[in-house]
């Protein structure tokens, strides 16, 4: 196989303000190889690849493509060199078909017929499953991603960069993507995937390059290494990769959900007669493809989402009373003495106020206390200090706007505040999304601590491996319906994957 060097990056540095995103990174990308670019959040993986794709320009350092020195000042110039990048957020026009999106922006005469023919050829060659005349709005996330990949190939790219391509896919879709990527590798293309998931690195890549803190740490041959070694390189010290799962402590019925039905603003059915129980002293995981109703479920329980049908009953452990939370606003629920904490998916858009400092964000929950119309910042300030200390938040102080903190620290501020409410039910939507390994494990530990305190924890997750390691029970949602409830200790990943796609239609996932 031809494994000539496709791209040579030498001593690349890039700096944003005071942040050194990349420092003296040198990296080779070879044809006929899948290179995994591994690193924690903020380690500079995406920045480095963006410089290859012409989105950023390096402050210093050189890039050669196919042995020739190259200057890549724009995405167009990157394409001319055969470099194509598939970003995390797709850039497709919803109302156009796959073929129209693929030829969009190309120069020359618009000839959809020959374009469709060429798209078919590409699909046949690598095993893509794309219908060129299908509209984007009719497509699933994985189909959209396929269109993005075909788009890049159509433009003649033979160096492909994929930025965390599996974040939005089910296990089955991931397998399919990997098969296609292997076909492309065997065809002699150079492929880079940016990821922080170790199992993907192991199943897919030939080599793995590790970045840490913007610096290049080293390259390993995948088959000669193991998860522990990669993690240690990525984090810079030895890390335990096991997630504890203590046994549930005296589980008692805490939340009883029956036939919960929710329509969104457009009138689409998002939850369809969902019923389940959540117990105290237990972590209940919720699995599903993104958009299967997880968000609506948590928001409906919390009182932010109007419900059409069904009941949400809270069983108060102190009074043994059953309190109906249906049709209640978050404020009314709190006034009933029901302590629900909720860590929403969109941290800065919903849970926190980005421009305010940590103290003022602590105050969001408690600012109403006190007899007069003025704020008391004393208690929130000491709470901010406590959270900074306890959760090891790295921040210049309590007066830094939370927007300026890193993703992991933002999440710690939010989780810390919600836990400080001493909740009876703690709901978390994708609490580790975008967090590095260290922060993720801190969050898992916090969840376990809450569980041991007798809190009913509801955890919406996307990483099935984590759900299966952490949760006592896993509720699987599929298109707004309950697909099943699985015992976390006996769960089978393939089976959950099938449950995520199977209920509610003929399409059977695979």
């Amino acid at each position: 196989m031809n494994t000539s060097v496709a791209v040579e990056m030498r001593n690349i540095s890039k700096r944003f303000g005071t942040v050194q995103a990349n420092q003296d990174v040198s990296l080779d990308i070879r044809r006929g190889e899948i290179l995994a670019l591994l690193g924690e959040n903020g380690s500079g993986k995406t920045t480095l690849m963006n410089m290859l794709a012409g989105i950023y320009f390096p402050d210093s350092g050189t890039i050669s493509v196919n042995g020739e020195p190259a200057v890549i000042a724009s995405p167009k110039e990157a394409f001319e060199l055969g470099i194509g990048m598939i970003h995390q957020h797709f850039k497709l026009v919803d109302v156009l078909s796959a073929a129209e999106n693929i030829v969009l922006g190309l120069e020359g005469k618009l000839d959809l017929k020959s374009a469709v023919k060429k798209i078919r050829e590409i699909c046949d060659a690598y095993g893509f499953d794309v219908n060129p005349s299908q509209k984007i709005y009719d497509m699933s996330v994985s189909q959209k991603q396929t269109v993005e990949i075909v788009k890049v190939l159509y433009r003649g790219a033979d160096i492909l960069i994929l930025d965390e391509p599996t974040a939005v896919l089910t296990p089955q879709e991931t397998d399919k993507l990997f098969a296609v990527l292997r076909n492309m590798r065997d065809d002699g293309k150079a492929i880079v995937i940016i990821t922080h998931k170790l199992n993907e690195v192991q199943t897919l890549s030939d080599k793995v390059a590790v970045l840490r803190g913007g610096r290049y740490i080293g390259t390993l041959i995948t088959k000669d290494t193991n998860a522990q070694e990669m993690t240690d390189m990525m984090v810079g010290r030895a890390v335990s990769l096991n997630i504890d799962r203590p046994d549930p402590v005296d589980p008692q019925l805490r939340l009883e959900i029956r036939d919960l039905t929710v329509r969104n603003e457009e009138g689409l059915l998002k939850l369809d007669h969902v019923s389940f129980d959540a117990n105290s002293g237990e972590i209940l995981g919720i699995a599903g493809i993104s958009g299967a109703g997880q968000k609506e479920l948590l928001e409906a329980i919390y009182g932010l989402q109007g419900t059409e049908e069904g009941t949400v009953i809270f069983h108060d452990p102190e009074t043994n009373k059953a309190i109906d939370l249906k049709y209640k606003t978050p404020m009314q629920i709190r006034q009933l003495g029901v302590s629900l904490s909720f860590v929403p998916e969109d941290r800065l858009g919903m849970g926190l106020v980005g421009s305010m400092d940590i103290t003022d964000n602590m105050m969001l929950r408690s600012y109403r206390s006190g007899p007069h119309g003025f704020l008391n910042r004393k208690a929130p300030k000491s709470m901010a200090r406590w959270i900074i200390r306890e959760l090891e938040i790295s921040t210049p102080g309590t007066t830094t706007p939370v927007r300026r903190l890193s993703g992991g620290n933002v999440q710690k501020v939010l989780v810390g505040r919600e836990i400080a409410q001493t909740p009876k039910v703690l709901m978390m939507a994708y609490p580790v999304r975008g967090l590095d390994i260290n922060s993720s494990y801190t969050i898992y530990q916090l969840m376990n601590l809450q569980k041991e305190k007798g809190v009913a924890v509801i955890f919406v997750g996307e990483d099935l491996d984590v759900l299966m390691e952490l949760c006592d029970r896993i509720l699987v949602l599929c298109a707004g319906k309950v697909s099943g409830m699985v015992d976390g200790r006996k769960a089978d990943k393939q089976k959950i994957g099938m449950m995520m796609t199977r209920v509610g239609g003929e399409q059977d996932g695979e």
């Binding site: 700096r15 005071t18 402050d59 210093s60 200057v71 978050p330 969109d346 858009g349 600012y367 003025f374």
Partner: protein, 370 residues
């Protein structure tokens, strides 16, 4: 492809927060630079000595005691409207209806002065005027807020159109109350009795207004930064979703804040009618409802900094008016000078938020862009 190895000429990148002295240094630099450009433009286009033009601008505000009083009166009125729009703006509710809300307040005080002058004694009438004009402004501000809260209408257009309604109402009542008949204007109301006129403290016509606005400035600063309501306004402005998440009733905050905003505009209208002008015209507001937007934005909605920005705008405007007569220049010329200065001041924000680095050779390495 000989030019292939060309680096882009400039990079623009976001800065981290600058220490206050650096950001104010950049702003001061912008002002100095703008004065230089103004001088250059003056010399090239009019042949006048730029320093005598600058001197005239200064004299317009400070040459006599009377002029200084007028300067402060104008600052106070502009600042007052600007303070009024701040809570709305902090909530990202673009209240462009300051004009209309002021007119509503001015109309209410005029109505009280004319209709109640023979009914109530002065000591009772003045509180009634204050209450009525505040209420009128509040209602004028509340209407668009109700529509926004209930049906999500666009507040920018709505408040803007409310201005025209207010102007038409004022024109109508000017005809109703015109003095003498057929004059098409109200004239000085209660000129002989001075009923409904705000008292002139220490014989200074403008002092009361200035004191009221000074108190308002401090109060608004405290309200926005230390009150629960001010906090709610900031949360709603930053993210409606977060506000709902913590149980803030967003609709109520919108309406309440616009009542406050409108009420302060109404109060300003009253200060103009009962306090200084003692008459009502459709142009009594002098466009301050719009200038206030600029004052508030330039000060980043901070009431204390707004003292500075309103001073700057009034000072420039006064000077601009004066040099046109003194040097026989066109009024547009002074607008050009004001425009240049504002352009530099607003433009300087770009350099505070972004860093420009120019092309450099690779040899220089890391040190050249700190």
């Amino acid at each position: 492809m000989a030019n292939k190895l060309k680096e882009p000429l400039i990079h623009i990148s976001r800065r981290s927060v600058l220490p206050w002295y650096q950001s104010w240094g950049i702003r001061a630099g912008a002002v100095i630079l703008s004065l230089g450009v103004c001088a250059l433009v003056t010399m090239l286009t009019t042949g006048e000595n730029p320093f005598s033009v600058f001197g005239a601008i200064y004299d317009a505000s400070f040459s006599t005691q009377r002029r200084t009083w007028v300067l402060f009166q104008n600052i106070a009125m502009l600042l007052s409207v600007s303070l009024a729009v701040v809570p709305a703006f902090r909530m990202r509710f673009w209240n462009l209806g300051g004009e209309g809300q002021m007119l509503a307040g001015g109309l209410a005080s005029t109505a009280c002065m004319i209709c109640l002058r023979d009914v109530l004694p002065n000591a009772v009438l003045i509180p009634v005027i204050v209450v009525c004009s505040i209420a009128a402004g509040a209602i004028w501000g509340m209407i668009p807020a109700l529509f926004k809260a209930k049906w999500g209408t666009n507040e920018t257009l709505f408040t803007l159109m409310m201005n025209y309604i207010a102007i038409q109402l004022v024109s109508f009542f000017i005809i109703v109350w015109e003095m003498p008949k057929g004059a098409g204007q109200i004239g000085i109301i209660n000129q002989n009795t001075e009923i409904g006129w705000l008292p002139a403290i220490g014989g200074q016509k403008y002092l009361l207004n200035i004191i009221v606005v000074a108190v308002l400035t401090a109060a608004m600063y405290v309200y926005m930064n230390y009150s629960k309501q001010g906090y709610e306004i900031s949360v709603v402005g930053e993210s409606v979703r977060t506000a709902r998440y913590v149980g803030i009733k967003v609709e109520r905050v919108i309406v309440r804040t616009m009542i406050i905003s409108g009420a302060l505009c109404g109060l300003t209208g009253m200060l103009l009618v009962s306090g200084t002008d003692h008459t009502l015209t459709t142009t009594i507001t002098g466009g301050r409802g719009f200038t206030a937007v600029l004052v508030a934005w330039m000060a980043k909605f901070n009431p204390v900094w707004m003292i500075l920005t309103s001073f700057l705008l009034v000072f420039l405007d006064k000077g601009a008016g004066d040099i046109t007569t003194k040097f026989g220049l066109n009024r547009s010329f002074s607008d050009i000078l004001t425009g240049i200065i504002l352009f530099f001041i607003i433009g300087s924000e770009f350099f505070i938020n972004y860093r420009i680095s120019f092309r450099h050779s690779a040899k220089k390495g890391e040190t050249d862009h700190v």
